[in-house]
Symmetry: C2
Subunit: 123 residues, 2 copies
């Protein structure tokens, strides 16, 4: 299920790395909208917004369907989860690492002491 390959991470994070695109996502989180509606608040051409939407679409974050001559976009909300999961897993991994390191340090630095287990941490 959406295996979240390296390549998908690339495109997804790249898509999120632009304020215009994040703004578009925020707008879409409220509900579907056409390209024109999405472009209206921005001081840039409709074509530029359309390009941003293409980036978001290729990142799997939105989908565009056809409706008469309009092109309504909708948020692909199930695409966000895996990203959170990836980042969160990464964070947890680093924290686990530090927890283990703390153990080692505590044991290592006070061989005689019963080791109150908290040398001190984070700034």
């Amino acid at each position: 299920m959406t295996a979240l390959t390296e390549d998908r991470l690339d495109t997804a994070f790249l898509a999120l790395a632009d304020p215009t695109r994040r703004s578009l996502l925020a707008r879409l989180s409220v509900g579907d909208a056409t390209v024109g509606e999405l472009a209206a608040p921005f001081a840039m051409s409709v074509q530029a917004v359309s390009k941003h939407l293409t980036v978001l679409e290729q990142a799997g974050l939105i989908t565009r369907r056809r409706e008469a001559q309009r092109r309504p976009c909708s948020l692909n909300r199930e695409a966000i989860g895996p990203l959170v999961d990836w980042l969160d897993a990464f964070r947890r991994r680093t924290e686990e690492k530090f927890a283990r390191l703390d153990e080692v340090l505590a044991r290592d630095l006070s061989p005689t002491t019963p080791s109150p287990a908290h040398p001190d941490r984070e700034e």
Copy 2:
């Protein structure tokens, strides 16, 4: 703290949007390393890796200190949290929206139901 401005989101997500950089972060999550050590596994010049490290540093994801002629890098693990939070908050917002929409739909499609009185809210 680390107010996580739009600009910080830009640089942070951009930093994460590259497989080499994610790989560097993964390596650093295991422990500090010098530029040379970090560059060794990659089929690219040390200079290129150094540039990637600069990107990561400016994104606030790592810090480089000086140690003789070496430049050990360490992961800035407290920088990850806010990113997870941002993404997770976004996800939660979209899901809430959908939950509310579900309510509306449920109420709308079954007019006989007592309709638990939800006038609708914000936006």
